[in-house]
């Protein structure tokens, strides 16, 4: 397995692609998001699995995004996501609101190769009213608690064009290791293409190691791997490095305004490239 460069990986994601991203507590590919900003991506349709965080906000701020399908966009302790909020108000993006288990369920339907899956809840929520793609049926199975019959929602399978996340490591065969963050496996299974950034590439085969295998995703699903050290920061990466609250707080303050965001980008997204080119 030969890793590609981060910039080549970003270049391989076409404008307009639907791109599934895990949130800040689950291996977000922040370095790749910055590379997408540098390449000037446009019209991306982001999918939050099941919510969206820092990477989504910076992509929106940089004008890369047309639509977000997610259950929430948040910077966690640092508050509302400022560029998401501004872009939504200004009509520059659309949002398809969902609820966390609905995002998981739609991806699991794709993972299992079925056209839909049911989910309880949802009925009576205005989310449902705004999702014509979610259908209510009468369940054909008897539910003892509901002798009069049960209404239930069917959610369609969601097949992202691209899934991207930041794994701890890849092995010589292109398998990647995500540990307990198994939702990364679900999006890998559900998506047409899977792009993974990693801290490092190691020798060997995770699938041959009983201790590493349960947290691995087979190379069968993975199109390309790129090395991006500290590629999830400011988010945490399992026990490799912690969440950088100060950096997210600084971002949240800066990104309150368009100008502040542009300055933040100059310092944190483009500065690296200038240095690398020098």
């Amino acid at each position: 397995m030969t890793p590609i460069s981060l910039e080549a990986m970003a270049a391989s994601i076409p404008d307009g692609a639907s791109l599934a991203l895990p949130p800040d507590n689950s291996l977000p590919p922040v370095a790749l998001a910055k590379a997408l900003i540098r390449r000037g991506a446009r019209g991306l349709r982001l999918i939050g699995v099941p919510i969206s965080g820092f990477a989504t906000d910076i992509l929106i701020g940089a004008g890369c995004v047309a639509e977000v399908e997610t259950s929430a966009v948040t910077l966690g302790e640092a508050g509302f996501a400022p560029r998401f909020t501004a872009a939504l108000r200004e009509g520059r993006i659309t949002i398809r609101d969902a609820t966390c288990p609905a995002m998981h369920t739609m991806l699991q339907a794709a993972e299992k190769g079925v056209p839909f899956m049911p989910l309880r809840g949802l009925i009576g929520s205005d989310l449902l009213a705004h999702r014509p793609d979610w259908k209510v049926i009468e369940s054909p199975f008897a539910e003892p608690a509901l002798p009069g019959g049960e209404k239930i929602v069917l959610l369609p399978a969601l097949h992202p064009d691209v899934a991207a996340f930041h794994a701890v490591m890849a092995d010589s065969h292109g398998n990647v290791w995500v540990g307990r963050r198994r939702e990364c496996a679900t999006i890998a299974h559900a998506s047409r293409r899977v792009l993974v950034t990693v801290e490092r590439v190691v020798e060997g085969n995770f699938l041959e190691d009983e201790r590493l295998c349960p947290g691995a995703i087979s190379a069968a699903y993975i199109e390309a791997v790129a090395v991006a050290e500290r590629g999830a920061q400011p988010a945490a990466l399992l026990d490799e490095y912690g969440f950088d609250s100060a950096a997210v707080m600084e971002y949240a303050r800066a990104a309150k305004t368009e100008g502040g965001f542009a300055e933040w980008c100059a310092a944190h997204v483009f500065a690296g490239r200038a240095a690398a080119a020098a």
Partner: protein, 248 residues
């Protein structure tokens, strides 16, 4: 003889009493504020045999199937109690985590519904928690329903709101009539002061007691072993409320 306490400590002990009011084996704590987490730890440290699944605990996160496991666990009926809040909460216990103005929140946009449109139906019960108690938050009718307080016949629903805890009072929820009643008012508040700051109508049955102050034993647990458990996940809260320095 009463010991001085902080409002957060009052809220945590009030929530702990709601937890103990109903047999509870397993509580999941999501992205909610640290106060519900403190209440859960207080019950555990008081010796209640309760399992806590803390979604945002970084080391020892209880979920090994990724973030869907919380929802699956709840779907299975294994979560007796969950906590939810809301940008708006109305008198039928409807929650709005979407925003105000035209859909999808063109006046004020909140972050989004998270898991509410599932958890509120499928957890054994829900304690609603929102510190801000104002007519802006507690409204007659939410602008958009992320998750409804009650459900029509034919919709599978395992649980409802047990109570709504705010910075001013504790409301109990009655799903059969889809209304709140005032259960207790915090020190310094009255039925009238609560009514003035609440956008929805609620019931008052007889004399409304004051929310009991934390006992000395409760405060000792909160400031000691509960704080110890919470520092990794909520360092700033522990520093501010319990006066514990953030570890270097």
């Amino acid at each position: 003889m009463s010991v001085p306490f902080r409002p957060e400590e009052l809220l945590a002990t009030a929530i702990a009493r709601l937890i103990r009011a109903v047999p509870t084996r397993h509580i999941a704590v999501g992205a909610a504020s640290p106060i519900p987490a403190a209440a859960c730890w207080l019950c555990v440290k008081q010796g209640d045999p309760i399992r806590l699944s803390l979604l945002h605990k970084r080391s020892g996160n209880p979920f090994t199937e990724g973030s869907r496991e919380l929802f699956d666990l709840t779907g299975q009926g294994r979560v007796d109690l969950f906590f939810l809040g809301g940008g708006e909460i109305d008198g039928q216990a409807n929650l709005n985590l979407i925003g105000t103005g035209a859909w999808p929140g063109m006046t004020v946009r909140f972050p989004g519904s998270f898991g509410s449109a599932f958890m509120y139906y499928m957890a054994g019960r829900t304690v609603l928690f929102r510190e801000e108690h104002s007519p802006r938050v507690l409204v007659e009718r939410v602008a958009h329903i992320s998750a409804p307080g009650v459900s029509a016949p034919g919709v599978f629903r395992r649980g409802h709101a047990q109570a709504l805890v705010t910075g001013r009072c504790v409301f109990r929820f009655h799903p059969e009539r889809a209304r709140f009643s005032l259960a207790s008012v915090h020190p310094g508040e009255s039925v009238e002061s609560v009514r003035a700051m609440t956008g929805f109508a609620f019931d008052v049955e007889g004399e409304v007691p004051e929310t009991p102050a934390p006992t000395q034993a409760e405060l000792a647990l909160l400031r000691g072993p509960v704080c110890d458990e919470m520092r990794e996940t909520y360092p700033e809260f522990c520093a501010r409320v319990f006066g514990r320095k953030v570890a270097a």
